[in-house]
Symmetry: C2
Subunit: 189 residues, 2 copies
């Protein structure tokens, strides 16, 4: 069952932009992150939620999409994310923000998969611009932006040979090469 | 449903040591991590699995437990983890190992919760000793050790006031104060 969710939980970069994601849904997803593990239980992660056109547009303009798809600049109007969760690290708390961020992102995105949504963790963010346009206090480091919505694309997993770069075929299907289990388990102690 | 798993997925530090976790189960848990997101899809994480007494004992001796519980040195014989997943970062690949580790840990531990197991992500590891005793090549950085087994303790979440340090009451129940949702969502943009 979790395997089914993990399977569905791919990185989606094209969405039904007109299908809204409510603020209450975003709150529920953050609540999953809230109740997840945090190193030394410090809980340094803070969040900004966005599901309105104006703030979505501000956030979108700070993002770079899919580094391996050189010919694609990101989702066109109509296929953009209807919602975002901006994940921040509270420097007044400190903690171990990157591992905490990974744990929280996974809770959020598995929760999204369960209700038919999908998303993408975006690290390539113009942080200075985002800080200005959302008026984010200097106390908070901008860690990641999670784009969310109802996925408009098909993503398939395949077995990696040499190259792990994802690619898109002529039908627009997004292929993600994953290393084999035998490659990643190096020892049975 | 995922909320139920997230709720069950607490950090457990005492286990039914005599109830084994099979190697095949550990492989399935790592497979959940394998199919999860990885920054730039680089997949730098590698794994060592342990579910035998000899290797478990070697790993156990390198761990420090529960920094906030000053009077407790870790699980006593009979309550120790029957299995471990050692998570490594392959320096030949690079990537973004901390956020990837968080994502992978959460997949593994939610998968464990689903089958009645529990665990704890341990960062306080004598890495030099562990490298020697398991003969881990220098190419791999030791990121975390995940202890796994059938939980022998009760862990409850409570609302954090000022102090986020977990504590154990006189009945041995482990209390984890979590920040309120209102505290961690700083803006609805």
């Amino acid at each position: 069952m979790l395997m089914e969710l993990v399977g569905k939980n791919r990185s989606y970069r094209r969405f039904y932009q007109e299908e809204p994601v409510e603020g209450a849904t975003l709150r529920e997803l953050v609540n999953l992150a809230r109740l997840s593990a945090s190193a030394a239980n410090l809980q340094p992660l803070k969040y900004i939620l966005s599901c309105r056109e104006e703030s979505n547009s501000k956030i979108f303009s700070t993002l770079k999409w899919a580094a391996y798809l050189k010919d694609w600049e990101g989702p066109r109007e109509g296929e953009r994310p209807p919602a975002y969760i901006v994940m921040l690290g509270d420097t007044a708390i400190g903690g171990f923000q990157q591992v905490d961020a990974g744990i929280a992102c996974q809770s959020i995105l598995l929760g999204a998969a369960e209700i038919g949504l999908g998303g993408c963790i975006i690290a390539s963010v113009n942080r200075e611009q985002l800080r200005k346009s959302l008026d984010i206090p200097g106390q908070y480091e901008i860690l990641y932006v999670i784009a969310l919505g109802k996925p408009l694309e098909t993503v398939v997993i395949e077995t990696a040979k040499d190259d792990i770069r994802y690619w898109r075929d002529e039908k627009g299907v997004h292929h993600v090469p994953k290393r084999r289990l035998e490659e990643i388990i190096i020892q049975m102690a």
